[in-house]
Structure formats: structure tokens, C-alpha cells
Symmetry: C2
Amino acid sequence: MSRTGEPAVKTDCSKGRFLASIYNPIQADLVEVDRILIEQLDRNIPWMERLLNHTNITGGKRMRPALLLFSGLACGELGVAHHQVAAALEMIHTASLVHDDVLDHAEQRRHVATVNSEWDNKTSVLLGDYLFTHAFHLASQVDSLTAIRRLAVASNRVCGGEMKQNAWSGNFKMTESDYLQMVSDKTAELCSCACFCGAHLSAAEESLAEGFSQFGQNLGVAFQIVDDILDLVGDAETVGKTLGTDLKNRKPTLPVIHSLSQVDAKLREAMLAELESDNPGQEQVMEWLESTGSVAYARGRARQCAQSALDFAAELPAGVGADSLKLMAQFVLERTF
Amino acid sequence: MSRTGEPAVKTDCSKGRFLASIYNPIQADLVEVDRILIEQLDRNIPWMERLLNHTNITGGKRMRPALLLFSGLACGELGVAHHQVAAALEMIHTASLVHDDVLDHAEQRRHVATVNSEWDNKTSVLLGDYLFTHAFHLASQVDSLTAIRRLAVASNRVCGGEMKQNAWSGNFKMTESDYLQMVSDKTAELCSCACFCGAHLSAAEESLAEGFSQFGQNLGVAFQIVDDILDLVGDAETVGKTLGTDLKNRKPTLPVIHSLSQVDAKLREAMLAELESDNPGQEQVMEWLESTGSVAYARGRARQCAQSALDFAAELPAGVGADSLKLMAQFVLERTF
């Protein structure tokens, strides 16, 4: 695998395959993170085994564990604590996905049926709670109050972000700045926390660890904006989840927010009526977004964030960790084209 | 207030009023716990203020904070950490109530409308998540890894207990031992954690702190059994929540489990058919329970647990903390008559 920072990203469009190639240097560590995830969860609880298969807990992109491990490698050696906190982060992420699926009524996630489509909402709510609290149980085993505290704040911000998203649901008066704040909390915070903890657990000084935190923040925001774009214009097969759910759930996303800010009062009113209706027409909305260049605008915003992340990674001393972070930033940047 | 361990419990049947009188010595501490609860939660999140009013977060029995504070007092002085962990415990308890209400479709809790009856399930799920994670955020501020870890394990056991309860819902093959394990996890664990943390934060040695933990465990189990009994035979006005929900939600409780174990195969089959039906008839079930003396049996089991707790408290050196724990155990014991 090239360590020059010039990977052939464009030749491999499959997200999963490309990430897997970036993850080569941490294969053994990711296996260890998976082992912890599987081993930790209590098999005495009825259905746990089958429920976990449905969350596909070890089958996601594992972006947060990877960010933590690479940030750790960029600052020093990896140890048990890195694996534990990485597993805890993936648990929190999975918990929030499980509850998200309850709220979105999504039927597919990570290419498998979601817990709530196969089981019921009750089971999904409890499983999410179990995963949230288990993440803290696991993280609290680590001998670093700083890491524990960071993880606790981060997971709380994620939930605050979800509440904001819920409160804004069906309300298209949301501004770009509201949106960015929500996305920072809801999505980027765990990436930021992963990078901070990775660096911190490898004994990075606080200011450097905060730099990693900012890197993760930028990467996460870029990633979410791209995800929002793909929900509008992606291909279900490649993306691996039900698409068009944002419009259906009347979630304001950046392309839509931008488009609304570009049109005259009359068109705006028509757009709002459509967007706030029970079943907004995807084709009609896409036509509006195209007329205002709003998908392109959102791509541009994502690109700025990914570029800031890339700039930070490029400044790090060369090595497996730094180079891989650079590849991850580049991967997100490439997804914007 | 009497400190002799012979309080006139029977003369005051109102749970709220009696607990308030026990709480006299920690009034100022409970005010501080409430202040932390209110101050901590982020007002920038839309609706937070109104949501919090609906959880009535500072309006519950505050048994867990009180247990923590009294256990702390029984072993030494109270400090900031006691107040913070007490607030975190109450947050976890409230989070689990909020999610419980989603699952039970309860309409009233703590004498006010539940979040999900006034709002929607979506909001309840997110608010519960926010409270869970905020509890860890708050608890992780404390400089005691031992307390943080205990709280994390405890909250995870609570969720595991809730999952067990859900898995057993509508399945009346549950044995008494299954029931006790579930109740230990679901209800008693936070009481146990409260007593342990109170003692530990007042620098009690580990073996003594474990004694407090066992005290809380016994008290919690007794309390839950009594709650189950009151859901069958209580008075909605006094108990302060919708009654009869256990039968409606087909939750096996101790009286029912006992009754099923006492009858012949034919009656058992008839009982199971009724209990597992969509809308079990409360009067019919009560008749069966009376014929097998099962409410009395459950009271007896609760009494045993409350008595063990009382015995532990009675051995502690006299003082406000120990005496108040004794009063709380006595209060639970009295509820069983």
C-alpha cells in the first residue's frame, strides 16, 4: 500500500473496498476491537445473539475505531486502552443508529434488516439503551479519566444533536449555521472524540490532541454532508441503506436549506409546502435543487471541511498513522466529486 | 424526629409525606442535587425546559439520591462528589422511566402526564438517551474511577434487566428465581450502586462499602415487589401512577408467578390463557391470586428482603446517616403490611 499520500482513490469507487485497503495496517487491531465488541455483550440476556446480528455491530464502516487507531499510531504505540475505547465508540455509534432506525422507520441499514423492522420498537429502544450504557461500562475500565470524560461529553453531544435534529424535523426555517451546529454534534463529535482519544492514549500533549480533535470534527462534518447528498442522489446498492429517507422524514439537509435561501418568496412558499407535506415528491425537489445548484454547493462545503482535515494530516510527521489519516481525509474529499 | 429506630411509621401512611420527614436531615443536600439536575441540562436544546417539566425530574421519591446521601453520612462527611453522583443516579433513573413509559404506553407518572403521552415516542426516546449520556458526562467529573465504574456497570445492568423483562413479557413460564434476578438488575441495582457510592465517596473501606451495596440491593428488591403488589391492589391516587399496567402489559410479577406454581395443570392452563390474552381480566386474576394466597406470599418475600436491610442498618454505629437508612428500611417494611 502506498504511503506517499497519493492513493489511487478515483480508481476504486466502492466505499467498503477502498476503506478496507486503507485499514490494512490496523487489520489486527480492528479484529481485536471486534473481539471486544462480541465478547463484552451479555449472552445471558435473551435474544442478545440474534439482536447483535441484526445491528451488524462489527459490519459497519468502523470509521470511528479506525480514526482512533490511526490517531494513536500517529502519536505513538497502540495499547489495550485504544482497543477498548475504540470498541466503546463503535458501541455508542451503533446504539445511536439503532435508535435512529426506530425514529426513521428505516428498514435496511448496513445491508441487513434493521432491528426494528425485524423485531419491534420496544426491543430496539432497550437494545440501544443497553449498548449506550455498556459503552460506558467498557470505557470506564480504561485508566484515563481524560478519555472517559471526553467520551461521556461526546456521546451526550451526539444525543443533544439528535434532539436538535428531531426538533427541526419538518421545519425548513433552519439556517446553514443551525445545520452545521447540529451536524457537528450529531455526527462529527464521535469522530472528533475518536481522534482526540487515540492521540491522548498515545500520550500526545493536550494541544496536539486538540488538533486531532479538530481533524476528526472536520472529517465528520464533511462525511455527514456527503451522506445527506447521497441520500438524495446516491445508489441504494452502493450506499447500503434505504435512500430518500431524509425527504420522507422531512429532515432539512444542506442542499435543501441552500436551495430555499436562493429562491424568491413565491417559489420558496411552494417549496416549503411540498417539503413540509406528508410525502414530498423527490423528483420535484431534485429539480429545484438543480436549478439553484444546491447539491454542488453542498459538495463544495463538504470539500472545504475535508480539505482542512487533509491539511492537518499532511502536516503530521510521515508514518503509518499520519499517512492513513491523510488517506481517510482524501477518501472523504473524493466522495465529494 | 426520633432517632431511636422506632418511628411512628404506621401513623403516616402517605409515602410522600413520610419520606419527606425522613429526608429532613438531608434537605439542603437534596436541594443541591436538584440544583445540579436543573443546571446541567442544556437549555439550548429546543423544548428542553418543557420536556424536563414533563419528566418531573426533581419531583420523584428521590430514593436513590437519599440512599446515597445517607450512606455517605453513615460513613463520614458529604462533599460535592456525593451531590454529583446522586444527581447522575437520578438522571439514569429518570432516563429509564422515560423509556419505560414509551414501552408501557403509560399516561401518568409522578402525578403528571408522561413525556410520550404529551409528546411523541420519538421525543421520549431521544430525551432518555440524552439523560443517560448526560448522567455519565456528569458522573465522569468526579475524581473517583471506582464510583464512575460502579455507576457504569449499574446502569448497564438496569438496561440488561429491562431487556430481560421485555423478553419475558407475555411469557408466564418465568420462575421466581428468574423474577428475582430480573428485579435485582432492573430496580435494585441503582439502589445498591447509590449506597455503595455514598459509602465509598466518604472513604469507607471496600468491604464496608460492599455491605452498603447489599443493603441497597435488599431494599430495592423489597421496594419493587411492593410496587408490583400495589399495581394490583393499590389506589391510583396514593401510588401516583396508572395502575393495572403490569397485567395489561402481560408482565409476570411475583404474585402471579407464585399463584401459577400453586395450582393444578388444568387451572394453570386456564390462567395462562387469561394472562396471555390481549386484555386479561383484573377481577378474575385477583380471584385466583387470593385463592392461592399469592399477594400475601409476595408481601412475605418483600418483608424478608426489607428485614435483611434493616438488620444491616441496625448494626451501624448510631448517627443521622445510619438512623435514616434504618427508617428507610422500616418504611419499606411497613409498606409490606
